[in-house]
């Protein structure tokens, strides 16, 4: 039995994309587009579903073949078209809840296209995960988003 503990941390990642804010927003809002860039490594078996509206839910499950299942269960709390998306989400490893987070994606016009600022306020539970690993993972997702946007152009 793991002793109960919580660790609280906030991180901010800023990216500049050579794509218009509306195009960046669409990569989050359109389920088919989001499924293309949001998720684990290609070799994972995965599933994704989302209902992009305030109060709507999103789930993404995946993991290495035969390995432990990573599950993200999220809910949308605020959506301003082309500008802001606020989502809370829980991460489970198998049956164990390892974190609860509040993530804000802000999109603003920039000289180059769009500046994206992602802020995640997180609670990491019982020593299973930490903010540094989560920030690394969030950065990887934003790399995948950029690759998707570039390929879509």
């Amino acid at each position: 039995m793991t002793k109960r503990s919580t660790t609280h941390a906030t991180f901010v990642i800023e990216r500049d994309y050579a794509h218009a804010p509306a195009k960046v927003f669409a990569a989050y809002a359109d389920p088919k587009k989001k499924a293309r860039w949001f998720g684990g490594p290609d070799e994972w078996e995965s599933a994704h579903s989302m209902d992009f509206r305030v109060g709507g839910k999103e789930t993404s499950t995946g993991g290495p073949p035969g390995g432990v299942v990573h599950k993200m269960s999220g809910e949308y709390w605020d959506i301003v078209e082309n500008e802001r998306i606020v989502m809370s989400y829980e991460m489970h490893l198998g049956e164990t809840r390892i974190s609860v987070s509040l993530g804000t994606t802000e999109i603003r016009p920039s000289a180059n296209g769009a500046t994206l600022v992602y802020t995640e306020q997180g609670i990491y539970l019982d020593g299973y995960d930490d903010a540094a690993a989560r920030e690394h993972g969030a950065g990887e997702l934003l790399n995948q988003l950029e690759a998707f946007l570039n390929a879509e152009a």
Binding site: T6, T10, W77, S88, V100, T104
Partner: protein, 159 residues
């Protein structure tokens, strides 16, 4: 154009009541309504609590009294989703605040309870995101300090 700000705060309290009693004040709808919603200066229009993981709490209220800075018919809404509940130990929830239907904040909060002698140490942590027209982190922390005082009065009165 939207504006978004982020902030966090932590409040620690010691209550002269067991973790089981402090937890019950969050879990029981009548008890929670008594210290969290009711009070002088608050006109409660509705309060519903479904205290389970994935369950919700929803309340609507008006602020009354001479110090109210808002038009008298201004209605506030609070919607909560419980992410995690560990009996007598931990509650994690996400909540939003609306003013006349316009969302002005979303927060992630945890309540941790630890035995402390014959009483309980409570650690309340909130991570908040404020939108245009939001109250901001200082006012939010001050609001929760008042609520945690009211919880103390509720526990003392019910003892």
């Amino acid at each position: 154009m939207t504006t978004t700000t982020h902030g966090s705060f932590v409040i620690e309290r010691r209550y002269d009541a067991s973790p089981r009693r402090v937890f019950a004040a969050w879990a029981d709808p009548a008890a929670k309504r008594a210290w969290f919603a009711e009070g002088e200066g608050w006109d409660i229009r509705s309060f519903e609590l479904d205290f389970r993981e994935g369950g919700t709490e929803k309340s609507r209220f008006r602020v009354t009294g001479p110090s109210n800075p808002f038009p008298p018919e201004t209605t506030f809404g609070n919607e909560t989703v419980f992410n995690e509940i560990v009996d007598n130990e931990r509650i994690i929830f996400t909540y939003s605040m609306d003013r006349d239907g316009a969302r002005f904040s979303v927060s992630l909060a945890s309540v941790e309870l630890r035995p402390d002698g014959s009483g309980t140490r409570l650690i309340f942590t909130e991570h908040a995101t404020f939108f245009e027209g939001g109250d901001g982190i200082a006012m939010r922390e001050s609001g929760w300090r008042e609520l945690l005082d009211k919880l103390d009065e509720h526990l003392a009165a019910a003892a």
